[in-house]
């Protein structure tokens, strides 16, 4: 190629460079949606965790919500902890097997109540006849004395405990 012909190619080369730069910009712009998609996915995970906050309200769906919260808590942090306590509350309220699994979900928060009651129904009747005992024979007073006394029995062999066979 002769030199003058080479000079003629300069504008073409410049144009090619500009075009390629433009294409690069376009491809660079096209590359943004990819991280945007993953950011959206992360947002969805957070939404999965946030419904757990109402879990302390203790509806019938708490079991599922608490379980979702437990998995979401891996990324979310503090918020799912309240979902965990929600599971515990439901377990102590105690319906049946499903709230027990809600309690297990709550274990990621605190979880103690979930395993303590095991989902069993617990009634706590307040009885007037049990409210006012004379102080000296109140259940707590007698129990304290009896517990202290019972310590002396724990090491006794059976033969000295007045058992007859």
């Amino acid at each position: 190629m002769r030199l003058e012909n080479a000079y003629r190619l300069v504008p073409l080369m410049l144009a090619a460079l500009l075009l390629s730069a433009g294409l690069l910009n376009c491809s660079s712009t096209d590359s943004h949606p990819t991280p945007a998609v993953s950011a959206g996915a992360a947002g969805a995970a957070n939404l999965a965790g946030s419904p757990n906050t109402p879990a302390p309200g203790g509806s019938g769906n708490v079991a599922g919500a608490a379980a979702a919260g437990a998995s979401a808590s891996a990324g979310a942090g503090g918020a799912p902890a309240s979902a965990g306590s929600g599971g515990a509350i439901t377990a102590s309220a105690g319906a049946s097997g499903a709230p027990t699994s809600a309690g297990a979900g709550g274990a990621s928060g605190s979880g103690a109540g979930g395993t303590a009651q095991g989902g069993a129904a617990v009634a706590c009747e307040v009885v007037n006849e049990f409210q006012n005992f004379p102080a000296a024979i109140a259940p707590a007073a007698i129990a304290k004395l009896a517990v202290n006394n019972f310590k002396s029995h724990t090491g006794r062999p059976l033969a000295t405990a007045n058992h007859q066979r």
Binding site: A123, I137, P139, A143, N148, F150
Partner: protein, 126 residues
């Protein structure tokens, strides 16, 4: 409540031989009945003033039979088995067993009854 003593110093207790009016009031069976009644009442299985009153009187009787060292008195030790004979002779066998104190037959049910009354797993007054 059937067969519970309702008057005198032993009011609230049940007897060594439940339906033998001449047998001694006995603390361990009183503690067991009080425990059972109280548990049923507080869980809502037993409803009615007669149960509440019987359980209360049972506990008061136990409190009055417990000394300052936490020792429950008037407790029947293990009885063994009465030999064959008449109903009267078998009743007499059990009724004549001397009662003692500080026996685990009574100490443990005393704790059961106290725990059932207190129900530390419930909120409110214990």
């Amino acid at each position: 409540m059937p067969l519970q003593i309702t008057s005198g110093n032993d009011s609230g207790m049940w007897r060594q031989v439940l339906d033998l009016p001449t047998s001694n009031p006995e603390s361990s069976c009183t503690a067991m009945f009080t425990f059972a009644l109280t548990t049923g009442i507080r869980y809502g299985w037993l409803k009615g003033a007669k149960y509440n009153t019987a359980a209360r009187n049972g506990w008061i009787a136990l409190g009055n039979k417990t000394d300052s060292n936490g020792v429950l008195t008037k407790v029947c030790p293990g009885t063994g088995q009465a030999s064959a004979g008449t109903l009267a002779s078998q009743q007499a066998f059990y009724a004549n067993i001397a009662l003692g104190s500080n026996d685990q037959h009574g100490q443990a049910p005393l704790l059961w009854a106290a725990r059932a009354l207190m129900r530390p797993d419930c909120s409110g007054v214990h």
